[in-house]
Subunit: 439 residues, 4 copies
């Protein structure tokens, strides 16, 4: 299909429309911004929509970042829901809850804000601007409850737009455009990418990288996962991150290790794609590499030390508390071979207990465990001296965990976990924890 | 970017998931369909989402079309909004209309149906299935008011998904895949395309065709417009439709005639793209062909004869009624040169009056006039003997109209029309109508 | 990679160059054509190459086809090899056949014609024009020996350009651009395609079509093969060509039948791609459809009746001549069940003998047999009443043959055939022929 | 068009073929290599061509680089032209130089080497391997005259394959795949690219980069040119190379400066694309940026100091020699303001004289001048203190030159230069040189 370059065409449309927009607007920059937004949801918006939306997006992006929040607050006020209209419709629904009164209430609930954002989305870069608005709002939610409605509307809209059915699953490799690759360097959240050479190694023949994209943000990965093809479960992150690629990848690896998964768009926080991505990657690898039979992660245990530090106050089996007392405070033991060997059984045992029993509500306290177990994975192995970086030592005494994604058990694991809170674990890990209880 | 074929990957994911779905379901096909839908919005849906969504879509498509409506009615009931929950939230909002109570009401209003459709959208072909569900519902809305809520939810969802910002503007020509081209033949609503040879002529070098697509329906145009490049305003549709292409298109045409615009997806009725498309085409043509300076339509006048037939009863200036009385009932005059010449001034005058004065509410009675005037066009010329097909004679005595899209006036025309109902027309057309009033 | 549209850029380059070409040229159109060609290989050609090449191609294409041959003859004379220079170099080589004298002779042999064609290739459409020049020449070769050198140069050049390594192997289906699909309808040489509906059936889910393309002729297949996916060897061509597609293709076919292979470019005659294409298709199908285990053709036997008609004069085993005498001349027996049944064993036996023993030189007399056996196929089965079209009856009494491409035997079959002329055949076919000899 | 991934398909074809290649080959690696090559041009090659070609390419690439030359020498011997056959044909041609004897001689001249390379080209990576073979040969040509014939054949073949008509003109920017971008860093020959950050700056919005590609080497630019968009002629290379991009590029630049042009493939030396590339870039920029009206280079003068150093011996106007005597030997004057100011008029005058009068044969002695003047450019301006790098000072005392590509004069400049050796120069530059002669 001969493709009239979309962005070029949009840009030209914007140019065309600018001429219609030569109306003077008085007042401050935020005043002008708000005035243009009113134009957009008015009659004028129908005729010169794209140009007007584009002007508004530009005005917003031209604001210094501290004033953007002010602009959003202004939008919130100017395009707030119509409380009187909602109240009327709510009363009618209460007196007669029919299909019709439901529908009328739904229409009354449609805030002018939503219509404004829908029209802003016509601008080139509109979707990106809206994602960025939410990114700005999210960290301020605690201090500014009056923006909750606005944030709710944005999340509602973005959830709808970024429906899983619209996401594009793509492999990322050294043939990917540089404009996308530089985002990987910027967004890698777990194990920092040190630059283009490091990136290239992570995209070598014995590695895989996959991401979700949305058609409206073609150069922006939403989430990406890095995979190493190995022989057997990987036990140390540095073997994956720093191992040079020897150029020969012809022997057939049997294991795929998911060693990093990074969300890229803060403005899409809470709209989760991660579980879909992992399942899709398992599937893509099974198709491409039939000899890969084992799918597992090499994951951090970010909450382990914090949990240990807080143990003293808890009512727990005395073996646990006893073990916990043997763990020194700092990291000096790292350099001491004897200390390390003495701590190894204690800490791996404690870690198994942490993963299998520590809860927030009725779900695992550890956020990484929560994510993978919720996806249907099981706890396969606890690896000692797996991450000797400062952060690794601080968070979890250098321990990392392999979560196993067994295609034949994902569904049953997921359900047992979701319904009963049951955590799937290998017998080795279960036994480690059992030492703390059954003895 | 190396693109792991998305549909292939999705298909494989579906295969993978099928194994998890081997649970027996008792009861009728609709019973099973509803049961699977309940699974999808439950915990199970999180783990085997794509496979489950795909099974549901298949089950739906396998139903005979008369039972599909039954299935939808079942969905409507099983996933209806929670009246009690809404009532509670509505009461709280009425007693204290804050950001928080607004938000809680909005959450209560989120029907299970919406969540179901959002998850169905994960299936390959999910979006298409949902569009088709609304297509099935729409013609039954009058007889089944109890489905209004469902239809409202579907329209709400589809409006959000098919936001203008996500549509892709593409040129269609002889390099377009056949799977898209055959849709043009199927969907052309105004001037039927007689087959591949006819289609090819409409895509020749002196013609243009543009369409909007959505990424989730890559082979399905949403709306398309056909354009002829001419020297001056075209006065007869058959000169455009039937003129053979002479192979030489090197002299520079100055006019672009939009001679057909067709909506393709009945399931998206009421979610309008037409005005955006015309503006984008004007722009694309200005970029590609700087020598084209005039943009106009050659449009039918579908309501003209109906209006004339109902005139007798109305209280109108006597010149109009007098003219109207001179118009014979059938179409016999067509073959009679003298009759034609006699009727020509009478009918063109009446048509001008119809377009400029006949109203439904405060907008033009003629639907085509309503569309183009609402977009900012003006009535440029009334063409006698412009469409001599049976339908053309029946609807409008063979008259067609050129609506002019003057890039410099689109916005002002639109606003005058939207705010004051003022209709922009050339002096020639205005004078024709004036004969009926000012004399 | 952002792709500056190549043909657009070339076109613009041509426009740019045209201004430099305003030199008047006197004389006839062919005179002007030849004069421009001289400019192109001169100094001027270096600076305004693309524009000049493009003008020459246009001039050539504007000639009526009977004058194009005249133009080529003119080129042949004006850009003939330099006999004196070649003679000098030849003499030097004869007196001292060194690397250097070889090289100098090679340089002397480089005809101005070759340089001219290499420069013409810069024009948009240049490659296509050169292919068409050879297409024009080929059928005239017998009558005009003086054009042999020109034809040789063209073939030499095109062989180099259309090297197998540069061909692109592509699947053709209903997503292929119409501009390519219409070529299939035009070029299908074996079993005519009746129009777009027929074409669509041949591209349905239970069919495959593959072609070679060259980057310089993006809309022109060079050769394509049509494949039917079946259960077991197909015995009748009409079952493949006319069978409607029932929409369900989910049971896994085990056999791929190559039922038509068509060369598209007469100007590339003698530059063969067919054997490469078949092998590549076998491979592509093995990858896509692992359940397909058998690859075979359903092929005509174009030389069978001709051979039979000429048999009387040959010195052959009497059983053959006896059988041959039993075959009636016309096609009347077709409608007579008894005659058909009587002829069946006789004709299948004769056909086996024809395929296995009739030779032209030391290779099979039948051109289709020559092609497939030369590729490493074996004769698997002779099918009675396989092609009841007029042509089928006339050529081969309705008989068609399955040639088998067994991936494990292609190489050994090919070598036995190439070295010793040994023909691979199934025992059934061998036995049929043996009846004529061994009895 | 659904594209069966070509390289994947080829790879699979290769795998398929490997099984046929299990014949033991005795002897050294080069022996085996040569033996496989003989297989390839033999009957075996027809059936298992791609697999065999691929094996040969792999064998070649596996050789240590010093033994590759040995392998090539072996090829040269084993596949040498048939001197006896050529001699026969040469004698026939001499006795009767007809179309037929020409053709027969041409056929005899076709060396087995050529056929071997044509078949090698079927392998994945075949074209690249052949380009690399010539790259290996070229620097050894002086020492090994016996390889001249081989080198000639390779050049002949590559010239044909890399015909301008098959090259793809592409823009390179930050959306280009990383695998291509890293080649720019590797191949930039004029002004080294310091890494990815430097590269990104050279691809910013106020820069352009264009390259030629060949379909058989999709990830390898053949030649690329870097362009800066400026206001007026650029006078200093460091202003272009080191200027940070300020992010705002909205004011319309009027000049395009070609500041670097790099050939990438040593194996294609002598097969020139540079002049085509520059003309195509001029055209692409005129289309994209109509406001750019001036096209010029900022080029080094690599032969200037060498020429000056050799002047003493030449018979030249005394003003030149006098000026030349005033030029100090080293680079100490660089740091001395007075010295610099004193040398400026002397050196610019000498440089003008060098460019306009110094010859090698009848063409300019300076290789850069030769290239641009041969393309139809003119000498526009001599820039003092334009390149203060060590190399800039050493080669040309820091002087650089703007060559002007005036679209309206390219052809006439080219012809005057080619026919009469006349050099186009601005009056300012001509006057500078005239000071040395006319006074």
């Amino acid at each position: 299909m001969v493709n009239v370059s979309f962005s070029q065409a949009l840009q030209a449309l914007v140019e065309l429309g600018r001429q219609y927009l030569e109306r003077p607007t008085a007042g401050s920059d935020i005043e002008k911004f708000a005035s243009r937004c009113r134009d957009l949801v008015s009659l004028l918006g129908e005729a010169s929509g794209t140009a007007l939306a584009s002007e508004i997006v530009d005005r917003y992006l031209d604001l210094p970042s501290d004033r953007r929040l002010e602009a959003l607050a202004r939008l919130d006020r100017d395009f707030a829901p119509d409380a009187a209209g909602i109240s009327d419709a709510a009363r009618k629904f209460l007196s007669s809850p029919t299909q019709e009164s439901y529908r009328d209430l739904a229409i009354a609930m449609e805030t002018p804000r939503l219509e404004l954002f829908r029209r802003l989305n016509m601008a080139p870069g509109g979707t990106a601007a809206i994602v960025n608005m939410r990114r700005l709002l999210l960290p301020r939610m605690r201090g500014t409850p009056e923006l909750q409605g606005l944030e709710y509307d944005l999340k509602h809209l973005l959830s709808s737009w970024f429906n899983r059915g619209f996401l594009q699953f793509e492999r990322i490799d050294w043939r990917t455009p540089a404009i996308v690759l530089e985002k990987l360097i910027a967004y890698e959240a777990v194990h920092e990418i040190g630059g283009w050479d490091d990136l290239r190694r992570r995209l070598a023949e014995d590695r895989r990288c996959f991401a979700f994209f949305h058609p409206a943000l073609p150069d922006e990965p939403l989430i990406f996962v890095e995979v190493a093809l190995t022989h057997g479960l990987a036990a140390r992150i540095h073997d994956l991150i720093e191992a040079p690629f020897d150029g020969a990848a012809d022997d057939k690896p049997g294991t795929a290790i998911f060693y990093s998964i990074s969300n890229c768009q803060e403005g899409l926080a809470g709209i989760s794609f991660g579980n879909f991505l992992i399942k899709q990657v398992v599937d893509a690898l099974q198709t491409e590499l039939p000899h890969v039979a084992q799918f597992a992660t090499l994951s951090p245990v970010p909450g382990f030390r914090n949990w240990l530090d807080g143990l003293a106050d808890e009512d727990l089996p005395h073996q646990i508390l006893e073990d916990a007392r043997k763990v020194p405070d700092g990291g000096d033991w790292c350099g001491d071979d004897t200390a390390r060997e003495r701590l190894r059984p204690i800490l791996t045992r404690l870690c198994a207990t942490y993963l299998l029993t520590a809860k927030r509500g009725n779900r695992p306290a550890d956020p990484v465990a929560r994510f993978h177990l919720g996806n249907g994975a099981s706890i396969e192995r606890i690896n000692w001296e797996a991450d000797l970086s400062t952060r690794g030592i601080e968070q979890s005494f250098g321990i990392m965990v392999n979560y196993l994604y067994d295609p034949g058990r994902i569904v049953s694991n997921h359900e047992a976990f979701a319904v009963d809170g049951r955590i799937a674990a290998s017998s080795a890990v279960s036994r480690l924890a059992a030492d703390h209880h059954g003895r």
